[in-house]
């Protein structure tokens, strides 16, 4: 198959393209869900194909096929070229690409235990045992568990001479205990909501999750929420848990720094950004305690890789430095705006999609204090844990999050549990009230496997290394 790729690249060079690249991707996946001890669903799928992206006289074309034969490679290359010619009809300014080094390399992600070699029986036993533990609590009506595994094998080649192979394995899963009484439901999740936690690692990641150790706790808390009072409306200090901080960073920082979004090319679906070009280097996005960076090299991060889908090497880029907004996520095309090389964030959801600017691991640097010290240092406030829902406007400015549970903090101690908590804010106002981020002992890279963007829709797997953090004067309330 590599021969087909090399021959097609040579053919495209002869045709005089400005640039072209080919990605051949094979992806396998396994998804298992067990609900109340019964197998709710298992799916296994395999997907193979290639996509050819052509830049001709400054305009893009893309064609893709699931048939990796020599003839189909040539047909798709011709079609991508024709499409680029057609795109050129409306081109105002020719697309230019930032310089990039030529790489010939192979990258394999961390994977000690191949999840696809672990038997279905073993995986089912784990999930059934987790259900058993949750259902021991008579208040639990639904015990829902899942495991998901993905492997992507990719060959990338471009007309500049790069030839890169990557094998990336991803594992993830989690559990949700749902309690119900008198028409009301409450739930608690572990290790995170929305299908759990994920990493570019093997089955060892699932073992280290120690799922069974937490089932009794989440069941007890879900039942306790039914009797807990509604979270009172107030303006107060909040400490946001690690898994909720992951989504806070994702929605209010990760998305608005995508430069294609800033430049308006995603407005038709996902919206724009308040972090416009004039704010770069000037906007005080957060307090001096806030340091956020994009890092595709974070070990095991769900947004980690060797090279992005334009052949740019994985790297770390500062986004927010001591509160100041200093960088965007860029592509080779958009980076020319700053006369800089791309910082390597272009990724595609499979062979049949073009790469777009996507979050890698958007991480919040840890601070100095422990969570215990931070709580002890808080006279009055709330501890908010685990996302329930999110809402944010199309400029990523005004957000509202609901979380599964809140605990009152009074005189440095956790107290009363509250149900249905929500909090809301304006992105830079909120981040400017951040006065502490917990230390590296509480820092964890959370995997978010459902980041959506683009047309046709592309679902991307991204990561967020974060620790719990404290914010003041936040509007909090209760919402059923």
């Amino acid at each position: 198959m590599k021969e087909n790729i090399k021959e097609t690249i040579a053919w495209l060079r002869k045709k005089g393209v400005d640039y072209a690249d080919i990605r051949q991707v094979k992806r396998i996946s396994e998804n298992i869900r067990v609900k109340n001890r019964e197998m709710e669903g298992v799916s296994k799928s395999e997907d193979l194909g290639f996509g050819i992206r052509v830049l001709y006289r400054g305009a893009w074309g893309f064609a893709s096929s699931n048939n990796p034969s020599k003839g189909e490679y040539k047909r798709m290359a011709g079609l991508a070229l024709d499409i680029a010619r057609a795109s050129g009809l409306t081109q105002r300014e020719p697309v230019r690409l930032a310089e990039n080094e030529v790489y010939k390399d192979k990258f394999i992600s961390l994977c000690q235990i191949d999840p696809f070699k672990v038997s279905l029986d073993e995986k089912l036993n784990l999930l059934i045992s987790a259900c058993d533990l949750m259902l021991k609590n008579p208040g639990i009506r639904v015990a829902d568990t899942s495991l998901n595994f993905f492997r992507s094998e990719q060959i990338f080649a471009n007309t500049e001479g790069s030839l890169i192979e990557q094998i990336i394995t991803e594992s993830g899963g989690g559990a949700v205990a749902t309690a119900a009484r008198n028409g009301e439901t409450q739930w608690r999740s572990y290790p995170n909501s929305h299908s759990g936690d994920y990493a570019t690692r093997g089955y060892e990641f699932i073992q280290e999750m120690r799922l069974l150790d937490q089932m009794e706790r989440i069941s007890r808390e879900a039942v306790a929420l039914l009797s807990a009072p509604e979270c009172p409306n107030q303006e107060t200090t909040i400490i946001v848990s690690g898994n909720q901080m992951a989504l806070q960073v994702h929605e209010s920082c990760g998305h608005p720094i995508e430069l294609d979004r800033v430049l308006g090319t995603e407005i038709s679906l996902a919206g724009g950004s308040f972090m416009t070009l004039d704010k770069l280097g000037k906007l005080q996005y957060g307090s001096p305690q806030v340091n956020i960076y994009a890092d595709a090299t974070t070990p095991g991060g769900l947004g980690s890789f060797g090279y992005d889908d334009e052949g740019v090497k994985a790297q770390r880029t500062d986004i927010i430095k001591q509160g100041r907004f200093v960088g965007y996520l860029t592509s080779r095309e958009t980076a020319t705006l700053f006369k800089q090389p791309s910082n390597g964030t272009m990724r595609a959801d499979g062979w049949n999609r073009i790469p777009l600017i996507r979050m890698t691991n958007i991480n919040l640097e840890p601070g100095e204090v422990s969570l215990e010290e931070l709580i002890a240092d808080t006279r009055q406030g709330l501890f908010l844990d685990t996302n329930k829902s999110w809402s944010i406007d199309d400029k990523r400015l005004n957000f509202q999050f609901a979380v599964e549970a809140a605990w009152e903090i009074r005189d440095g101690k956790l107290g009363q549990m509250y149900k249905n908590p929500i909090y809301t804010g304006i992105t830079p106002e909120f981040w400017n009230t951040c006065d502490a981020v917990c230390n590296k002992n509480h820092w964890h890279v959370w995997g978010v496997p459902n980041c959506g963007k683009g047309e046709p829709m592309q679902t991307m797997h991204v990561g967020h290394g974060v620790a719990p953090a404290r914010f003041s004067k936040v509007k909090v309330g209760g919402a059923k």
Binding site: D82, I83, L89, L120, E455
Partner: protein, 135 residues
């Protein structure tokens, strides 16, 4: 994209060897193009062609489904085995009676090649006309 004859020649031997009580294969051929226009320019112009096979097997009242778009004998055989392995571990579906039997279907003509291939081939023949009208 595969035609009816090729689909049957590829799938029939695999299905015949299936140890399941019933085996079904569904083939979905797709061809799609999309053009995105922003800032008064085409910034995305994409095309894809794909063929995907879904095997559904029944072991008594236990069902299993697996899919692939790798259309060779080895991969199809492996995908069918995956569907069987899923069915063996699956709980019974009480309401399941049987997979649909043989039936004849009315042929519908809903795919018009001329429309499907409208762009960018249209460009080739009408380039000058479009260019003039855009100016």
């Amino acid at each position: 994209m595969m035609g009816k004859e090729k689909i049957f020649s590829l799938l029939t031997p695999v299905i015949k060897k299936s140890p399941a009580d019933q085996t079904e294969a569904v083939v979905i051929n797709s061809q799609a193009g999309l053009t995105r226009y922003a800032n008064s320019t085409i910034h995305q112009n994409v095309y894809e062609v794909n063929s995907k096979v879904y095997f559904r097997v029944a072991l008594g009242k236990k069902l299993g489904v697996a899919a692939t778009n790798v259309l060779n004998k080895e991969s199809l055989k492996k995908t069918l085995e995956n569907a069987l392995s899923i069915a063996r571990n699956q709980r019974e579906t009480p309401d399941f009676t049987r997979l649909p039997g043989q039936a004849s279907y009315k042929k519908l003509k809903t795919n018009y090649k001329k429309t499907a291939n409208y762009a960018p081939l249209f460009y080739k023949s009408r380039q000058n006309k479009i260019s003039v009208s855009l100016r």
